[in-house]
Every structure is written in C-alpha cells, then in structure tokens.
Symmetry: C2
Subunit: 443 residues, 2 copies
C-alpha cells in the first residue's frame, strides 16, 4: 500500500525530497512506500536538479493539495502566503502536513495547531529548525520528563558562517557578507538572516515546544550581526571568548500553580550576538553548522549538532516527518487521519507562556567604550558601575591607533538589565567617554 | 485517567524515575497522569534516596509484573536474569515495557522484539544508550531517510572519565582507575566498562537500529582501555590527537539487492581505543559525557551530546519512553496494547546485517615500537610497510630515558587490515625491533 505525497515547491529542499523518494534502496523500507504524486512549481519550464515526469508538475498548488491521490501534503515553498493558506487547506481536507516553513510556524503555529487538532491530523515541522538535526521531535518526545531551564542555540547557518570567517580571518562584516553571497551561503537580500529574524522564528518554535505554550514571535528582542565590528570579535578572542549569534529561551521564576494546575511560565527569549567562553559547548560550532543546547532538570545539558541548512540535510528532516506519518498510517491501517492524536507527536499547547520585560532579566555584558586617554577614566567608569550596583569582572584598556583616544572594554558579572542600563546612562554622560562603541551579551 | 507504572528495581535509576513521577509540576502534563503502583526491590529495609509508601514495595518482581494495576513495566534492575525473563513475562501479559538494560537488549533484543511484535506491545529502550541523550528514538524516527554510513561514539562514561583525566594529568591508568572507583565514577568490578563490553553492548544496539537488523553482539571485536599506556596518550597529544574509547559501526560495500528487495548489509563494528584528530567533533567530549556521531546520506554529520550516565539523565530517558507509551495509550483510548504498532516507534528488523572479517576492513593505525637506537632502523621499518603496500603518514622517533633504546611511533594512512598485519609481522621479525609496545586505531 503506497502513500501519496504532494509536494508544494521544488526549490532546493523540494528537489532534495524528490531525490530521496526516487532512491529508496538502503533507506528505511517505508521510504519505498512513498509515492510522489503531484508537485506544485512556479514555472513549468525552469531547469531542475531532479528529473520528474512532466504530468506530475502543476502551477496550481491548491490543485495539488486537493488532489485525491495526495494523502500527505509537504510544504517546502517558503514565505508566509500562500504557504499558510495551503497548509490550512490541507488540514481542512483531513490531510496531514509536513512543513519546513519556520516563518509560518513561528507566526501562525497556534492557528495551525488548533486547526490540526480539530481535523485530527498531524502537522510535523522537524525541518523548520536546525536543518538535518533532529531537534523538534526530541524536544517533543524525549525531554518531556524535564523542567527545561534553558534552550540556547546557534540556529542560523548564514550568520554562523560569516562570524566564523570574521573570527578566523579578522575580516570586516561587509567583506565577508559579500563573499558569502558570492558563494551561495547568504542570499541576495540577507536581511532575514543577518538581522536575526530567522533565528527569532526558530527560537520562538523551540521555546513553544520546550515550555508547552506559544511564544509571541513579534515580541522577541532581536539583534543581528549586521552592526558587529570585527574589533569586538578580536577583543573577545583576546579575553577568551568567541562571538556567536545566539538564540536563547530561558525560564524565569514564575508563580507557583495551584495543585493540579500548570503555572504560567515566564520566559526570557532573545536573539543577539553573544560572547561565549571558548570552553562552552557551543563555542566550537563553526561554519554553516548549527547546534542546540537544552538544559533541564534532571537531564542536565544535552546538545544536538549538525548541518543547519542545505538541500540534503533539510530534506532528510522532511522525509523523517513523512515517515512518521506513514508509520502511524500503516499502524492504524490508513485510519491515521481519523484516530485521536498522540499528544507527544501532536505537541499541543498545555501552558501559558509570557515574555518578561527585558528590564527584569539578568545577564553578563560586554561593553566597549571610546574614551579620552586620561588617567582616572577607568576609575570614573568603575564608579558608575559601582553606584548602579553592577559588579564587574574585568576592565581592560586596549591599544588603539587613533591619537588621543583609548578603547576600554568592560565585562560585567551577571547583573539586572535595569541596573546595567542605569550604569550605562551614567557612563555615557561622563565627559571622558566619547562613545559607547559596542554593547553585547556574554554567557 | 491515570496510567499504572510498575518499577522493577529501585537503585540509582529507579530512584531517579520515582523522583520524577513524584514531582510532576513544570514537566509535561502527561507526567501527572503516571502513577507508581508497585515497585520490586531486593531488600525491603534498605535505606533509599526516595520515600515511598511501604505497601508499594515488594521483593517479588513477578508479582509486580503480574499486578493488574500495573499497565507499563519499567525494568531498571540491570543484569541478564531475571531481567530478561521479567521483560518477556510483561510482554506475554500484553504490557508495554520500558528498559534501560543494554546488556539484555544487546543479547536478547531479537527475541524480545519478536515477542513484542507478537503481543503488539512496545518495548522502548532510550535509556539503554547514552544516558539522558536522546539517541535511540532519533535514530528510529528522525534519520530513516538516510543511508547510514557510520555511527561512532563515546558511549561509556567511566572510561571517558578515566581517559580525560589520564590526558589532563599525564597519570597512569591504574592510579586514575583507583581514584575513579573512590569517587564513584567506576565500579568495584570495573571489567564491563574498562574492557569495552559495555560500549560493545551499546554499539550493537545502535548498529541494529541504524542498519535495520540485529548485530551479533558476541562477534564484535572489543578492546578496552585497561592495557593503555599513558605514554601513548602523551605521544598522541604531541602528534595532534586525543585518545578515546570509540565504538564504531560502519557500512561496508554490500552486494546490490534485486529491485524490491533489501540487500544484506555488511558491517564493520568494533570497540577500541582510538586516536582522534583534535578538530574531530568527538575529540572535545570529556569527563563522563557521551556523544554519538551519525553520518548519513543525505544528512551529513549529526552529533548528539550529553551526560552518558547518572540517576537524573538516565531517569529522564526512562520517563520519556513511558510518556511516549502513555501518549499512544491516550490517543487510542487505552487500546494501545491491541492496536498494530507504528513501525518507526516499534523499530522492527528489516535487513539482514552481517559483520565482516576484520582482515578485509581498512583503518588508519598508530604503532609504537621499542627499537635499538641505531641508524637505519627507521629505514628498515619503512621498507616493511612499503613491501606490504602500507602507506605511512608519519614516522617519529621519541626521546626515551632508557639507555640504548629508542621509541618509534608510526601513523599509517588508511590501509587494509590484512596488509597492515603482514607489515607488522615483518617488523616484529626485525632484529632491531625489541617490541611492538602499542598498536591503536586512528581516525
């Protein structure tokens, strides 16, 4: 009994999926049961890396979703619309959906999950985060015994490639970006990657699964790497750190729930360039690789590492989801869409999650100041921190070429963001401080 | 509707499971549905880290399995018998089983899987390999689209702790072992860990899942760390390597199957101390941590990292399995034990796997020779390798304290084991070679 697959999109990932389905030998035997029955493309005449029979192709994605021969809908077209509407259309028709679309899931995941629950179909999203790394299903199925303290990760391959090269070569951001675009590691319009939006989509999804409730995507404080100065990477290196674009979701102390009720979960979720100590498990993740670190009680730290993007890895994750649905269909004799959903695989929401105001969060900070080269400057800066109750780990003055000026780098201990902001305002007002040249977070 | 859990064993892991079940707040809501109804212990009066009502405890494990209130049997007693018989008894009674018992699964996995398929119940084993690291379910559910090329890992925490300390301190094996025993990182009888048997159990399980067929446990060539000389760790370090106890399962070229049939899969499976280049993803895994690297087409390299042992991490994996079964039961309205099994979660065997003769495998090798300190020795050794068709990467003579002798370390390129053995025999016959002091594999 073969299972009919309808593919929406035949770009990099779609072609990767088609290539796997066309070569089942040596893979899980269920791969051989999957039959590609209809493929929606934008342009019928575009040359493609995979050969498909012409009658499979259609420029009408709704027709692919509606096709009676299509039993599982695989959305790999990307973008918000028509992807969202097509996913909802498939669900309404009682067809399970596999999607790699992090932008849609991060924004409309709640709507889609509710529709899926009503129709009793699965919507699986392993490929939406971390490319080929199994992280979505492990979060749903393998870590449920834990109280999750933190999920942090390097989850954007483009920016990690750029940062890795900036660190290795001491090169400036615009130069490496241009080279990455030339090599195909960054898109012509790199905004979603370099400004952190893609990572914010993904951490919203991971946080929602780890903490059991949807996280408001648009409220996530997001800072990219497009303002990052090569100098800060070099200074960080000298101080024992590497700079990575980190996405973090962290549990904050929340009110106790009544017995039998789940408490609301307060979360600190954010995306920003971050100094990691060189010994940190995520510090050695370079190039287009991704890694996600999950910290929980009682598991401790577990890390998932691998290729964060690319046709093969992402297609591997898409087909894994298809296989999971196919396996359930086979077990239930094709009644999969009518049976109630396994709550772990379906991953419904079971807790109210709220983001906290950043003023009440606590972090370690890295601060680079341009100052006049005069005795007493470090003392004045130290006093500003002290008066705001901000404890300092180190203050280092670096040599600069510019005459008459100095650069001072401060790394704080973990301090409340409000206190840090207060110190920063006082420091900016110092006559000897010419500019706050950089302000980054530190783990 | 709560689900009744019967626990066989209340040692470290069992107590960890009981602790999670007793504190459901903040965990997945299904944890709150799990009720510990019966616990088999060896001695009713032994003090324990968890407090349990006296009426839950029993010294009769068969009574726990048979108890009508017990719906899922959790086997965490360890050892081959009575664990195997109790698992089979639970299956025969139609009760799904969760076990952390790698020794039983590595030896009787086929028998147990067949019985489980007949009874239509799940036997889940996430805790059997890698402690808290999700690796079993990801292998079953998330990588099925791939042709797996290799699964390699550091999967024994005790030996990794010992090797990490030997490397950091330049200490000798017996001294670090004694200290590890004192600190509780090694057992009084450390044989299963230090001789590699525990790692062989685990790689047999991983290989069986990755390649879809049972692997004959007793046929796995296994070498431990108990003969390892601190000198080889030091020399490896100078040459750019770290020494780890690596478990490897690797696909060998196999005959093509007829269309529609799955080919037999030839495997090279082994456990031995191995030199890893310092940049290798597994090289930085230290202490009691474990990591498993899976290489496949098209996913590339994915790695799973975390605490490989301990009450909390292992209990996290055990409860994850319980939750998966509970989730399916909830979805099927308690008919979970009667419904056909999802082939991915059940992970039946679908291919015939055979181990190859080690003579036809290929590896890089590290060889340390004690020789006389005479000109021409290196030339003679090089000639032996050349005549056997073994290509050499480096030959280095190290300083030794002993008068009149030298130590020569050779690292080969990847060569056929038979050729290497031929070269080794010729080298041993050289009058200037006093002894083959060490012979290790290199990645």
């Amino acid at each position: 009994m073969t299972i009919g697959i309808g593919l929406l999109g035949l770009g990099t990932v779609g072609a990767g999926v088609a290539a796997i389905l066309a070569t089942p030998a040596g893979r899980h035997p269920l791969v051989g049961e999957l039959e590609l029955r209809r493929v929606a493309v934008r342009d019928l005449n575009r040359p493609r890396p995979v050969e498909l029979a012409a009658e499979l192709l259609s420029t009408d994605p709704e027709a692919v979703v509606d096709d009676l021969a299509v039993e599982i809908v695989v959305e790999v077209m990307g973008g918000l619309e028509p992807a969202r509407s097509l996913i909802l259309r498939a669900i309404a028709a009682g067809k399970p959906v596999v999607t790699a679309n992090k932008a849609v899931i991060a924004r409309y995941g709640e709507e889609i999950a509710a529709a899926a629950a009503r129709s009793g179909v699965y919507v699986l999203i392993e490929a939406a985060v971390g490319g080929g790394i199994p992280i979505i299903e492990p979060l749903k199925q393998s870590l449920g015994a834990n109280r999750i303290q933190r999920v942090s990760g390097i989850i954007n391959g483009t920016t990690n490639y750029i940062l890795s090269r900036m660190a290795a070569e001491g090169a400036a951001y615009p130069d490496v970006l241009a080279d990455a675009q030339r090599l195909g590691y960054a898109e012509a319009d790199p905004a979603a990657d370099v400004q952190g939006g893609d990572a914010a989509d993904k951490i919203a999804i991971l946080a929602g699964l780890a903490y059991g409730g949807p996280v408001p995507r648009e409220a996530i404080p997001t800072e990219g790497i497009d303002q990052l100065d090569a100098r800060d990477i070099a200074y960080a290196e000298q101080l024992g750190y590497v700079v990575k674009l980190l996405a973090v979701a962290q549990a904050m102390p929340s009110e106790q729930a009544m017995p039998g009720e789940q408490a609301e979960q307060l979360l600190d979720v954010r995306v920003h360039p971050t100094l990691l100590p060189k010994a940190h498990p995520l510090a050695g993740v370079n190039g287009v690789n991704n890694a996600i670190l999950v910290e929980g009680d009682p598991v401790g730290q577990v890390m998932f590492y691998g290729p964060g993007a690319g046709a093969g890895p992402t297609a591997s994750a898409v087909v894994a989801d298809i296989l999971n649905i196919a396996g359930i269909r086979q077990a239930t004799g094709g009644r999969g869409t009518q049976a109630p959903l396994d709550p772990l695989l379906a991953a419904g929401s079971w807790r109210d999650c709220q983001l906290v105001e950043s003023a009440v969060t606590s972090h370690r900070n890295y601060l680079r100041l341009r100052t006049s080269d005069r005795a007493g400057v470090i003392g004045a800066i130290g006093t500003c921190f002290g008066e705001a109750g901000v404890s300092i780990q180190s203050i280092v003055q670096f040599e600069t070429q510019s005459a008459g000026g100095a650069e001072i780098v401060v790394i704080t201990h973990e301090v409340c963001e409000a206190n840090f902001r207060q110190a920063l305002a006082a420091i900016e007002a110092l006559t000897d401080v010419q500019a706050v040249a950089a302000c980054l977070r530190t783990l």
